[in-house]
Amino acid sequence: MDELELIQGLRNADETAFKLLVDTYQDRVYNTAIGIVHNAEDAEDVAQEVFIQVYRSIHSFKGESKLSTWLYRIATTRALDLLRSRKSKKRFGLMQRLFGDGNEPLHELPDYNHPGITLDRKENAAKLFKAIAQLPENQKVAFTLHKLEDLSYQEISDVMQTSVPAVESLMHRAKQNLRKILEKEIN
């Protein structure tokens, strides 16, 4: 089944087509989500939401980009939405604590270990993920897609709906910021 047949199958609500879509893209979507949210359960939640959204809005997919590009776009958007809601919950929790209403302790997420990293690099990778979490959203997305999903700058520009030079600039600034954050951490 090629991509056009797959899209047609999804439009006809064909379950075989949907299963094929999930089987083909589940790891790419999950890996992208886990690279941004740094938590396995949240990443699975995001991945499920991505496929549900695709199933519901396949009729609005015009086919101007590749299906994978569309999936990456939804995955990054959903993952960033989750980070924003996590931040607002944290802010609300802080407010509750200030006014003496919240009894639950506020704590940062523990160091994240990506399952695809070899044991000898796990410690450094955890430091890098901690630094990535401090990057602005667009730099975080560009860096994650490039490093974890191995996408080219052209593919990232399609996902982020921007130009290749803009992605180059994002990557340059991301690396500079990461370097600064890591240097501070080491000192």
Binding site: E44, H114, N124, L148, E183
Partner: protein
């Protein structure tokens, strides 16, 4: 010192190079299907959820208040009208000598 630090930063920055893609947990598709079916059921059972929306509740309350206000205002207007009607009837009665202390009653009492 600086060289050592730069080397350490470079090592950290390169720690994701050549990493494997993280795979979804087992039975991902089963859980996804279950969530979709649950969502569909919830969607069907919540077809009348608009009844619980604040916009609906506020509109319903406003309608009830408007009906109350309308009834109260109309009642006041009716009272005004009935007072006028009584006055008119009294004046007619007085004109035709149909008051309570009319001689008819007096005559009956005499009998």
């Amino acid at each position: 010192m600086d060289n050592n630090r730069n080397k350490q930063v470079d090592e950290i920055l390169g720690s994701l190079d050549g990493s494997r893609r993280a795979a979804v947990p087992d039975f991902f598709y089963t859980r996804l299907k279950a969530r979709m079916e649950k969502g569909l059921e919830q969607g069907q059972s919540l077809n009348k959820s608009w009844l619980l929306r604040p916009a609906f509740a506020i509109t319903a309350l406003a309608v009830v208040l408007l009906i109350n206000a309308f009834v109260i205002l109309k009642d006041d207007a009716t009272k005004d009208n009935s007072t006028k009607e009584v006055e008119t009837l009294q004046s007619i009665a007085a004109e035709y000598s149909l008051n309570d202390n009319s001689p008819v009653y007096d005559l009956n009492q005499d009998k």
